[in-house]
């Protein structure tokens, strides 16, 4: 190859490679996009770092103090420590007297009293930190129990509520499902007993009324401490079935109309249908709550601990908690149900005193009147 040809080829190759090495318009665009993406990524990283820094500052500002009293371990924001500390001791003492040795189980758990970040400084959250374990959550988790404006009553209520909720998680699941709430060891008020009595004697179920009359087997059925296979026949008599089907039913179908007209077979069919649809004939929350509290009261200081240890059905758990046979618990429950009475609300010393005062005032005013002048 002549030298001139080699030179031309080399020149062409050089030009071509130079042309190839210059970025095309599309490539330039891609390059710019890549640069923008890089800058955005840097900016996002910077924001994340800034937020992390802010969070760490906030966390460091909100470091929590620890208060221990009895079996309670409470983490509290330093700003409100002085207000909370006294109530932690009060709550611990209350819990000790109410649930006895079971309160020791709270020692492995934490309650948190802190201010909310997103509201005013006066708003506090009282929460329970659920420990990991087979009965709790798979991982440690904070469960908000109560929040609101910081006040003495909120703190006491919140601490008690959170503690008892925590303790309830230790009770066997079957019992909690029967109770359908946390286990509360509080004393049942007289008003609650009167409302329960009214509910029981007003019930459409025959077993509730028989229970009120002292039939303990009926009480077991009323409280669903024994399995009920056919509620329509086991819980109701004919009149009760009719009432159950027709009461408050403003658009009855043919079967329900037949029931209303006195056809008990139709009432049976309609009642079974209503039960299948989940019409509420289960015991009221007040019934199961009062039965539980009666058992805890009979069982004394150890009752709550025995309830936690019990793995039996609700009937057995009640007996275990009370430390006596179930029928003894039901006898006391039924006695309280019948005999706990509120005094008449018609008259009280306060009403009498204020009335007599006003009678005297008005009488004195009428004696002083100047009508004749």
């Amino acid at each position: 190859m002549p030298r001139a040809h080699v030179f031309v080829v080399a020149l062409l190759l050089g030009v071509t490679s130079a042309a190839l090495s210059q970025p095309s318009r599309a490539a330039q665009l891609r390059l710019q996009h890549a640069r923008v993406d890089t800058i955005t990524a840097h900016w996002q990283r910077a924001v994340t770092l800034l937020q992390a820094y802010d969070d760490s500052v906030a966390r460091s500002r909100a470091r929590l103090d620890t208060i221990r009293a009895g079996s309670l371990r409470v983490l509290v924001a330093p700003a409100i420590r002085s207000r909370v500390e006294a109530f932690v001791a009060v709550t611990a003492a209350q819990l000790d007297s109410q649930v006895g040795p079971a309160a020791q189980r709270l020692a492995k758990q934490w309650l948190v009293v802190r201010q909310r970040w997103d509201t005013t400084a006066d708003t506090v959250v009282i929460s329970a930190v659920m420990p990991p374990g087979p009965r709790g959550f798979p991982k440690s988790r904070e469960v908000e129990a109560l929040w609101g404006a910081l006040s003495d009553s909120l703190v006491i209520r919140g601490l008690r509520h959170a503690s008892l909720s925590q303790l309830s998680t230790e009770v066997n699941g079957g019992f909690l499902r029967w109770l359908s709430s946390d286990v509360s060891p509080d004393t049942v008020s007289t008003y609650a007993w009167t409302q329960l009595r009214l509910g029981l004697v007003s019930s459409a179920t025959a077993v509730a009324r028989r229970c009120y009359d002292g039939d303990l087997i009926a009480c077991r059925m009323t409280l669903r401490l024994v399995p009920v296979l056919d509620a329509a026949t086991e819980l109701f008599d004919a009149a009760g079935r009719r009432r159950f089907v027709t009461e408050g039913n403003y658009s009855p179908d043919a079967i329900e109309v037949a029931c209303r007209d006195g056809d008990d077979a139709a009432c049976l069919t309609a009642a079974r249908r209503l039960v299948r649809r989940g019409n509420p004939i289960s015991p009221t929350r007040l019934m199961v709550m009062t039965a539980t509290q009666t058992a805890l009261r009979i069982g004394g200081r150890e009752a709550y601990e025995r309830l936690i240890r019990s793995t039996g059905a609700p009937a057995q758990a009640l007996a275990d908690a009370a430390g006596v046979p179930l029928d003894s618990v039901l006898k006391v429950w039924q006695h309280n149900l019948r005999e706990t009475r509120l005094p008449s609300q018609d008259i009280s010393l306060g009403i009498a005193a204020s009335s007599l005062l006003w009678i005297a005032v008005c009488g004195a005013l009428s004696l002083r009147s100047s009508r004749w002048r």
Partner: protein, 216 residues
């Protein structure tokens, strides 16, 4: 003199007193009748509760009628008889007050008899009757109403007008506040006054709350 005042008052009050006595006797029986039509014990209690307002109203009505009846002879005679008596005005007013009290007794006694009759009638299991407590409250409420209206009736027209003007002023000021209220920041003057009057130890607190002849 007291007997003469009682006799005068009897003439002006007897018809109304008889009417309220019959109503007072019938009220507990009517409440029982309504309660019996209820399907359950809670329905029975609800029926009794529905009659609570009737007892309070009757107590106020008896107090009003007897108080007005106590002063009617004097008002119609332009107080000539009273002025002719050789007794101080306060003593005379006391006689009038005492005589009026006597005319509350038949209504209260009738309510007690009616309530006792209901309490010995069959009522749903688990419920309890409170005939004496209800009667005591009725007696106190009718006495309070009587004392208030007696005081108003014994006062001058100017005082009675002033009392009415005060109540009208409160209602009107509440209306103005509601009209010119700034958003939700309404000042509840009427509510505060009603609380003062009806919440113990307010002057009409005996009328507030539940009046239950039969309860759980």
């Amino acid at each position: 003199m007291f007997r003469a005042i009682v006799w005068m008052q009897w003439k002006s009050t007897r018809a109304l007193s008889l009417l309220t006595t019959i109503i007072a006797f019938a009220l507990p029986l009517a409440s029982l009748q309504l309660g019996r039509s209820a399907a359950s014990a809670s329905g029975f209690v609800a029926a009794m509760q529905a009659f609570g307002a009737a007892y309070a109203l009757l107590a106020a009505l008896v107090g009003l009628l007897v108080a007005l009846g106590a002063w009617r002879p004097d008002h119609s005679g332009r107080h000539v008889y009273a002025l002719s008596l050789p007794v101080p005005r306060s003593r005379y007013a006391m006689f009038r007050f005492g005589a009026g009290l006597l005319f509350l007794v038949p209504t209260i006694a009738a309510l007690l008899v009616g309530a006792l009759l209901v309490s010995v009638s069959p009522i749903p299991e688990g419920l309890h009757a409170f005939p004496v407590a209800l009667t005591l409250r009725f007696a106190l409420a009718s006495l309070v109403a009587y004392a208030i209206f007696f005081a108003i009736a014994s006062s001058t027209n100017r005082t009675a007008g002033l009392i009415i003007a005060i109540f009208a002023g409160i209602i009107f000021s509440q209306y103005l506040l509601a009209v010119f209220a700034d958003g939700e920041r309404t000042v509840d003057v009427l509510g505060a006054v009603l609380d003062f009057v009806f919440v113990r130890p307010g002057i009409l607190s005996v009328f507030a709350g539940r009046w239950m002849l039969i309860d759980a």
